[in-house]
Symmetry: none
Subunit: 192 residues, 4 copies
């Protein structure tokens, strides 16, 4: 009984996921450069040769892993920021960030360790250039709305806190009390 084209597609999709997943684990454990394709393929339960049937190269794996991260983030953030800027939407915006972070800690760790590398910078530029401005504008708007006298600086300070939260969590996801810190950030920057 030959499989249908649709079944083939499904198999392909599953395998791709399995490989990406294996790559994520191995890369985040050993670091992208130290990890070998051999280990990834073994972890995925797939032969080395087959990997190249699904992905062009090692760097493509990395770029997909990190790129998808930002697809999620950007989409999430875009949704919350498309609404009129209110305390509520800002809170959702922050919570969205935490949620995305908690759902993919390994990806974020990987991203973090590679964020200064050319291979990764390239993606970020592609993905982020336009959206970043949008977000900034929205957040500044919020601070203005609250009567902030230096909303640009507030944006920077706010981003600093968000960054600190992200990095601290990535460094030690098991012990960092991210929810409590989130609340403190919300208290400090959003609800007065």
């Amino acid at each position: 009984m030959p499989r249908t084209a649709k079944q083939f597609e499904e198999i392909r999709a599953d395998r791709k996921k399995a490989i990406l997943n294996a790559a994520l684990h191995v890369f985040s454990e050993e670091g992208y450069h130290s990890a070998s394709i051999s280990k990834v393929s073994k972890a995925a339960g797939v032969s080395k040769g087959l990997m190249y049937n699904y992905f062009e190269s090692k760097v493509e794996l990395l770029q997909i892993l990190i790129g998808s991260l930002f697809d999620d983030e950007i989409n999430g953030m875009r949704k919350t920021l498309e609404q009129p800027v209110t305390e509520q939407s800002m809170i959702e915006f922050i919570q969205m960030g935490t949620k995305i972070l908690k759902s993919k800690p390994k990806q974020w760790k990987l991203y973090f360790s590679m964020s200064t590398q050319p291979e990764v910078l390239k993606i970020l530029q592609d993905k982020f250039s336009t959206d970043h401005i949008l977000f900034s504008t929205k957040i500044i708007e919020f601070f203005k709305m609250k009567g902030d006298k230096n909303p640009e600086l507030s944006l920077t300070y706010f981003s600093t806190a968000i960054t600190g939260k992200k990095v601290s969590y990535i460094m030690d996801p098991d012990n960092y009390p991210i929810d409590k810190i989130e609340k403190l950030i919300i208290n400090q920057f959003i609800t007065t």
Copy 2:
């Protein structure tokens, strides 16, 4: 007529500095793993072989570059925290952090991109294990003194802000207004 011992010492010191400097530039530009010893030696204007006259291995270069960073930081922090904990000493502590950051931005960038790698984690454990506890204790003491009801959480929030400051600066040292952010942190956590 052979050179004197002192002359040799000077040559060695100069070359060591030159090599470390070159390594720092190349590593921080291209990433430790992507950078080759060949490139480092070319950047330092010496032969590949000579590098091994001065340093045991590629990883030793990395460890010296990053280790020295923490020697500085630990010493700075120790000095400011040896004093009785006051607002003044806490301010100095924060300013010390900024100063160290600004004096060696490339090293810090390198450190951040390598901070999840075994090669680097090992050094930090060696350098940091005891001191870290001391610093935490002191800062908690400060927050207690100020009547804080949850000084442990405040420490974490404070560390989050400091981390955010560090990382934000490293990511974009030319545009990040670190001094202004420093003031905001001092205002928020120290002087009320």
Copy 3:
């Protein structure tokens, strides 16, 4: 259609043999240290890289080549000495030594040139520690049985002759009359 597991196994076994064989020739011709992996791989008709698919390191090649020698020898000696000690078993013991020597002259040459090196001493210790004592005991027992007044010294003299035979043969396998010397040794030490 991919090869079956069995086919892969065969390929691996063949290649391993070919590489070990090439290594033996090159090492014993030029000496272990002077011989390069490049030359070995060329002699085996494979790429340098492939060697490391099959063997961990250059020194592993050496250790396998020499280790297998002693596996053979120890097994042979053990078999003949497990029997009750008689003139016949002692003769077989000596003949076994000659046979092993003649079957792998290049390995023995390699062994002798490396026998004082740490890389090789290590294997011998692992392989020989317990058996050596057993063998000595058995041979001493034989000399005692024959009424020898100083069987320990006789063991040493006997070993000296065996060693002399081994080394002389290795140095010039084509011209050394090993069988005749073997007979002389048997006459001298075993049958009167």
Copy 4:
């Protein structure tokens, strides 16, 4: 007060000896190929550069060390064998061999581990080719004199014992009872 030419010569000779001595120790400890010129020069208390003032190359050191061994041996053997061949002269010949062995165990060990290498074979050919025949002839003559029916084979068996003695002693100079074995050899081959 400028040194005389003779004094200079003496200094040179002393230094040469010191370097050769250091080389011997280091080579015999670590093996010729594994040992580095750096270590030798340090052991000799002399700079690397200066070593090349006294010796052409690393291999020259080896060749001098091993060559001198055979100068001694050949001279010693020649002296004892220049006399008419008697039991006494044969005994002296054997004792001479033991004496030379005991006086330079490290050289012999080095020689032994290098004896199959091209660098060393070259010297031996130069030194040995003619003398070896002389010695063989003399010893055969002795066995003939004693009424031996196969003196050529006896020579080989005798050489085997001598070789065995040599090698056994080199392998474990501290525990091998070379004097006792020497007596046994003399008893067996010389004094019937």
